[in-house]
Amino acid sequence: MFGAFVLLIVVVMGLFGPAITPYDPNGMDFSDRFANPSFEHWMGTDDFGRDIFSRVVVGARVSLQVGFIAVTVATVVGAWLGLIAGYSTRLTDEVIMRAMDVLYAFPAILLAIAIMAALGKGIGNAMIAIGIVYIPIFARIARGAVLGIRNEEFIIAARAMGAGDIRILLTHILPNVLSPIIVEITLSLAFAILAEAALSFFGLGTQPPDPSWGRMLAEGRAFFRQSGWMGVFPGLAIFFTVMGFNFLGDGLRDALDPKLRR
């Protein structure tokens, strides 16, 4: 419940962000830099004299976008590969899963950095890079789930009735492996937001001046000693959002997977 509540706030910020900020999130004021939180600036101002609260609100959209699109990429590609691997012949399975092993053996952040180097930086490419990094996880989960049910009677029955492979995959298998995938999606959303922050640390994520929480945090690190607030508030935003997704994921896991319910 707590997770859902936090996420609701974040989603509202993401949807209506630009409309509800008290200041222009990119408006600079060099006479008012590193201001502490006050009634005027709820979260203070940054090194350009920009209002941090406005930037945190607008940054919600970027962080959510990164999370959703990256995880969509990972889910669609990964789950599909996993379904195929789990359902088809041994050889196809081996080829797909060894390819997944290759991706998985890379330290995630290095792979993302290398992909960003190839694609060029920017938030769109960051989404793709993070998505690619998480493909093997979804492939593994989907494959495992398929292996668990592919010899169940209703599948064999469907096949006996002459249903095509793709039809069986979509109408019979997919609905039955959804729940572990949905749980993984919520958890991956949390990781994707953190991954964007990490890429921003290396200067590869969102490009200036648009704020994402990750970039604000990465920029704030140079000014910890001038003004701790620059790093604290976007950090808290990430913290609560990620926590929200994690709680949601745990909750969904309990709800969807009766074996784990206690």
Binding site: F30, D47, K121, Q207, P208, P209, A222
Partner: protein
Amino acid sequence: MKKLKLIAPFVLLVAIVLGISFSTSAQMSEQVLSAAHDAEWTGLDPHVASTVSSFYVLANVVESLTTNNDNIELTPLLATDWSQSDDGLTWTFNLRDGVHFSNGDAMTSEHVVFSMNRIINPETGSGRVASVGGPDAVWEAVDSHTVSVTTPEPNAILPVLLAARSTSIVHPDSVDENGVIVVPIGTGPFTVEDLDGTISMRLAKNENYWQEGLPLLDAVEITVIQEEAAREAALLGGEVDFVTSIAPQSVQALQDNPDVNMLVSPALAYKYIGLNLTREPFDDARVRQAIAYAINRDDLCAAGDFGLCTPLYGGPIDTGSPWHFDYAPYSYDPDKARALLAEAGLADGFEMELMPTSTYQDTVRQAQVLQAQLAAVGITTTINAPEWAEWLELEGNYRYDGYICSWNGLVDVEHYFYLQHRTDEVFNFTGYSNPDFDALVEQGRQVSDFDERYAIYEQANQILVDAVPYVYFYNPAFTRAMSPRVQGYVLRSDNANLYMNTYLEG
């Protein structure tokens, strides 16, 4: 006798204690500076390396024929004196006697010719061919301690160009079978030891160094700490004695700290935006001038360097240089900028892309300020900040609207104008071309009298400032911070990082 026997152990004890204290004091007197550099060096081949971080090290290991002293005046180094032939085509350098490489070999003219030919050879891939007379220069050994160089065109400033450490003299044994120099054997005060990739090394005293009594240090232990907070903490916590750069926002705090000696020096360098003259609307001088008027350089300086800079309202050269020119038309004037844009038919403004590089975060910060300032006169901008590798490629192929960068270590007036702005010259990335300007900078190269040269470059400067291929921002400052124990280090305006005269007190 008995008493003596009793005393003996005490004597021994005293001797041991003395011995220990002696050996520790001997260790104390070993002068080892622990230094943290701010970036990893990108190779130690002086003829190939191009980064400041490489030359922070190399300037202590290899030496060039000429050099600049701490006041940035041209002085002899490996050459004692030089002269130009009457036709201006040939320079003759007399080499210093008694100079030895760190491996003990005496330096002769053969080594000079070898080094210069290595730079000119395209297979080396050196970026400094122009500094040794160009691809057609012919270097010859006249005798064991005299070399001459002949160029197709007169070159009045060759000794000035040869002050760059990237034209240093190296021993042929430095070059491995692939033609690469991993560690140069030079004539400098230190040699490279214990090299660990690009993260740590020890600069050990060169026992064969030709300057009597130098260097004062026995060794410099160099590590690399890239993260600014960590570098600052390493200095404050006593992990290191010396750091090569301090984030501008921390300078004030360190200046107030009695445990730190904070050096700040105006730099022979400038930050600027280069505009692409091969693209519309930047081919129109009025548009470029409008940008120059639209910029509030004080804010730019506050954002990029936290006030550690001198704004440039005209040309690139600071008041501290003998080559400073007064012409400075571009005070902050957004109305005038809008008027100029209207004149150019762009009353409704236009869109452009700013290209800083993420490798140098200060340029990204400047881009954000520029974005706000240009928006005020109707110019809508986007920011694209590629990494250095990609940035260089885009810049070099006119694939940008405006790039943000800086030029460093510029000493002679020539360094500010010739290579950047002469038609089709190697660093002319803006596409600027003006025959009058070209004629002036070529003339400037063939004259050596100061006043005469000054008059020539004053005209060139004015042409350039009016044409605005570069919009100059400001001269930044260089910083070093060190423990008060560190003495004798001079922060130079050309940013040369020399440990030769440095020593530790106490």
